[in-house]
Amino acid sequence: MQDIIQFGIEGFPVGCVYALVAVGLVLTYKTSGVFNLAFGAQAFLSAAVFLKFRNDYDWPLWLSFLVAVVVIGPLVGLVLDLALFRHLRTASWMVKLVTSLGLLVAIPEAVKIWFGQGARFNPPSVAPLLGIDADRVFHVGDYNVSADRLVVVIVTLAVVLGLGVMFRYTAIGLQMRAVVESPRMVELAGVDSERVSAVAWMASSLLAALSGVLVAPLLTNVDSNTMTLLIVAAIAAAAFGKLTSIPLTLAGGLLLGIGQRVIAGELPANSILAQGIRPALPFLLLFALLIFLPGLYKRRDVTDPLAGVDPPAPALAASYKDEQLRKVTRFTFPLFLAVFIGLNLFVLSGLWVNRFTEGLVFAVIFLSITVFTGLSGQVSLGQAAFAGIGAAMTGQLATQSGMAVWLAMLVGAVVAGVIGALLALPALRLGGIFLALATLAFGLAVEAIVFPLDGTEEIFGFYPNVFGGQLGVKVPRPQGLATDQSFFLFVFAIFGLVAMLVILVRNGTTGRFLGAMRGSETAAASIGINGTRQRIIVFAFSAAIAGLGGALHGMLVGSSTYQNWPAFYGIVWVVLVLTLGVRTIDGAVNAGMSFVLVQYLLDDLLHLPASLFFVLFGLGALTYARHPEGVVEFQTRRSIDEQVQGRRLNARAARLRSAGRLPSEWMPVRYAVVPMMPLLLVPVVGYYMGSRPALFAVLIGVPLLYSFWWVYRCYANIHAHRGRGVPAPVGLLVDLAARLGTLFLLPIEIARMAGGDGRDQPITWRAGRAPCGFVLAGLFLWYRSGTENAPEDLGLLVIALAGIVVFLRWVAQVQQALNRSWLDLAEPEAAEGDEGEPGVAEKVEAPPALTAPAGGT
């Protein structure tokens, strides 16, 4: 009895820490319908601001608190609501999850650019704000409670009480819950749902900020990893409250805190059991709750009948190609592959071959996400665990039992697959956010329990050895693959094999069954599809691919250690792949290459902070709501659509020309683009030949003069047609003064012209964003070239080339939009017919998953 009292008293403050954070998660979920995994990131932001202002800038404690919690907390919430979540209220769980994952990755990394990469110690205590000495220790019988813990206990209980009152007795509490259920219904009752949504986000973000500032002194530091891990641990408490009940969440937090204390007290503190279970307890508990708590796995995310009825995913970009483009692709794709392989085998240095090989290795790992998410429509955040298992198993079998490493690699993949299938069994009933959380818990538990096993401790008569301790496990390459080139070929072949398998599965029965289940599990079951079997297959297949990729990674590096596979990599990988494209092989390849080459570009060539990579892709994930097919797939489809449209416009122009009705304003796109193409030579000449003023004058001067003429002509034609708007001389002056303005102004003028004519806008101001971004990036790099972090010449070459290509593409888009306008004006009847042709917009509404088109790698 004495022990129970002791455990209860000592576990209570820790439980309150979990409860405070978990209540914040529940509040966000209840009031926004978003399971905000970025809660920890928001907490880190405010804790960092609080520490920085108080410790570094010596601001008064109350003022630091005011800024960090009362101002920044709600402000972040308001921004998130206005910019993102307000528009996602009726979106699917996947969109909300990916958006919060993107923020989880981006916010801490963005903060670190200002705050510093490492942990900062001695966060200020808020106890003095309550009139309590920060160093004071309170005695409860034989037990002691520090001022900071007491503050957490007080605030937690106050928050629980306050929220309980708010939801039960106040109008705003009722409105918050109602808005999540159905904003349309709430608006019918005369409530401003947007205002309610904003208040809800501000309140939950205030709680995130408060949690960060209050918990930091208990962590003794401010560090994004520590904060994020705490928030993930607290999810178990939120799960106990079924993500809705605040009192039960408090109870869950207290049980977790007391449970940890019981285990710490009862298990031998130096036993392997304690070493595994103590750090993993919250994750094991979360996993168990998700699996066994009926209120969780049976709950529906939202009850609005109109929520989540997003249109089916658009057909793959490849299906938009016309016959001519298909012919071109049939020739260019093998040519591209041959050139890529040839370069790697005969031209590039070993180091570059190694970089491309690593990109392919990650592409293999990312194909596991393509399978899991792209095919089944679910999210797994535990892929790093499977990759680690594959790497460790391969290394152990090859070095300890003398097995041929290629065979060990296959066995490693099979073992990862079997573990994936075993994971599928309890997780079968889960879906959506709950499956994502379960896989995250699985990944964290594997990282805590399995990976540290080094063969020195006995478990039931065995001495399990996973990564072999500090040195890790050696992962040799198959014989004959010592050179970079031969190993590249090997990895390429494995990637090709896996890619073919994925395509076969996607286009085969399993892929179609999974597509049907993605649309409606009930409907799929009604036509005899065995959902259980399909789920186990997809879990196992995906895990095996990740394991295979892990083995290849081990071979590439030569060894593998437990440090190579932190569970949070699983989150970053999902964000990366979903941002770039989760449904195609292209998406996995781009994600793999980006993971390696963009880091190389930003860090080694441009000498920018390493955090920027994660910020870019984290923010990139925010585009998922608009482009769930991924940026690469969207851009590919847009490019294909532009090419197809361009050919149709050319055909119409030829027809009009033969009829003598071709408008004089018409100009082939190539006439606009080709004369500006010498610009591409400028950075190349500069990089390889150094300063060549005379040559530069020609290469820059001629295209520049031509571009001025082209801009003038565009404005002049538009003004002549509209009879108002921006006169050509003014447009030219804008262009001469700052081309940045033209990037937006010219498309706006074209759109206005179309609007004035009552036609669809063929282009919008958004077309100017990409080239404008490159211009700003160029200016920034130019500024940095005078600092000690000056970018490398190769980095400037890459950015300059990319920027010019993007600018030329803008020219092509503008000219094509203008051409379409002139042709529509000359031939309005054809314009109407044109709209009836199958373009992107129509394809988006295309057929559901059971008839998903084949091909499209």
Binding site: E10, Q117, G118, A119, F121, N122, V137, N144, T220, N221, D223, T226, L229, G257, Q260, A264, G265, A269, N270, S271, A274, Q275, G276, R278, P279, F333, L337, S349, G350, L351, A398, A404, E447, P452, D454, Q470, P476, R477, P478, Q479, G480, L481, T483, D484, S486, L489, F490, F492, A493, L497, A499, M500, I503, G558, T561, Y562, Q563, N564, D603, A610
Partner: protein
């Protein structure tokens, strides 16, 4: 068509695969044996993990190395050549990037030596061994002992499970009667360190009353540990944790109102940590393998280092002095190899040195024995205590801060007792 194309390349690739396993992943070096050496300069480059999970300033390694090079270059360089730090690369604590960055130094930056390497994950060690490039760095990775051309600042072989004598020595000196050891359960480094401490206390005492090697990173509840400390009558704690773990222990002990005779940690002797934590770690003992910055009679090398840091406006740190020491060893190696030095001759020359100290910064290093377990190794540590918010060297003598014992790393035994250390 795409599938067919992929299949063709796939078959070609798989044909390259035989049944056996490759022993090595390769590595190459300049055939002249002195890449990166011109009439005017010797090119050197390093890799650090600027982004590291423990948040320490690993990039300080570059600061220390560059400061030493500046000193040498001001005095005419080495054989008339300046030492130039041509590349400062970041592996972001990723294994594959560590390998690639080390390769980039050798294959793209054309360096004569890799210096410094300050990283959490030293995955590229085997590449450097195969390439035969002299490499120098901060030894916190077991990989440093895998080749004769890898030179850690405190030696290349670290015996993690040998009896760790210094915590036991400090505990005895402060009159402790019962000790507790704390370590992270998820970190092999931390667990290996705990094993060394356990062996030390079991061999020499005081009694090891309690051991908690299952703590978690980040937020962890120490109330059970503290309760055990109180219950067992523990009066001395030794930890194998990072700064954050030490800070947690300090706070938990303070909150519990437990009076300890001391807390010892091999990690945490850092001025920025002291500035942040200050009084919260008052009374803590830390170990240092170099002369403490606070040594009242610093040797020439330490004085030069401190002056250089002062001039640069940099806070002295463990990482920057590692870089400084690494640079000093390279210069000593080149000078010992003679004007026609090559990578191979420099490695040989260093491995024949028997008393390298970096001008007194460290105890004499006998590089004929430092790559592998040695039956007569000398374990020297300067012990520093936090007193009133400042680091103070203790147990040594002015000008001789190191407390040394002879340890048999092969048999994994220490001296018969700890009563008569050598003070150096």
């Amino acid at each position: 068509m795409r599938a067919r194309a992929i299949a063709v390349f796939m078959v070609v690739g798989l044909l390259a695969v035989a049944c056996g396993n490759e022993e090595s992943t390769g590595g190459s070096s300049d055939s002249s044996g002195r890449p990166g050496v011109t009439d005017d300069e010797i090119r050197v480059g390093g890799v650090v993990g600027k982004t590291n999970p423990v948040g320490r300033p690993y990039e300080d390694g570059f600061v220390g190395a560059q400061a030493y090079f500046d000193l040498v270059n001001e005095n005419g360089g080495v054989f008339g050549r300046d030492l130039v730090l041509v590349a400062e690369r970041d592996d972001q604590s990723q294994a594959s990037r560590n390998v690639q960055q080390l390769r980039a130094l050798v294959e793209e930056d054309d360096v004569f030596a890799v210096l410094p390497i300050v990283t959490q994950i030293f995955a590229g060690a085997q590449y450097l061994v195969d390439a035969g490039v002299p490499a120098f760095g901060w030894n916190i990775n077991a990989e440093w002992s895998t080749g004769p051309n890898l030179f850690g600042e405190k030696g290349s072989f670290l015996c993690f499970d040998c009896p760790n004598v210094h915590p036991a020595f400090v505990a005895q000196q402060v009159g402790a009667t019962k000790v507790a050891v704390f370590a992270y359960g998820q970190s092999p480094q931390s667990l290996d360190c705990a094993e060394g401490m356990r062996n030390g206390f079991n061999t020499y005492g005081p009694e090891l009353a309690f051991e908690d090697t299952s703590l978690a990173f980040g937020f962890t509840d120490l109330s059970a540990a503290v309760a055990e400390v109180r219950e067992q009558g523990v009066d001395f704690i030794a930890t194998c944790m990072d700064v954050n773990g030490n800070a947690n222990i300090a706070q938990a002990v303070r909150d519990a109102g437990i009076e300890l005779k001391g807390v010892y940690s091999p990690e945490g002797y850092a001025l920025d940590v002291l500035e942040d934590l200050g009084a919260k770690i008052d009374g803590f003992y830390f170990g240092s393998d170099f002369v403490p910055f606070e040594e009242p009679n610093p040797p020439e090398g330490m004085q030069q280092y401190l002056d250089a840091m002062d001039e640069l406006g940099q806070v002295p740190s463990e990482q920057s002095i590692a870089g400084w020491t690494n640079a000093a060893l390279l210069v000593a190696g080149i000078e010992a190899a003679g004007p026609d030095f090559t990578q191979e001759s420099v490695i040989e020359a260093i491995n024949e040195m028997t008393d390298f100290t970096a001008d007194g910064i460290r105890t004499p290093q006998d590089w004929t024995t430092l790559h592998e377990a040695n039956s007569a190794a000398e374990a020297c540590t300067a012990i520093i205590q936090v007193q009133n918010g400042e680091f103070v060297p203790v147990f040594g003598e002015p000008g001789s801060p190191f407390v040394c014992f002879e340890v048999d790393q092969v048999a994994k035994t220490g001296p018969p007792d700890l009563s008569s250390p050598t003070i150096q």
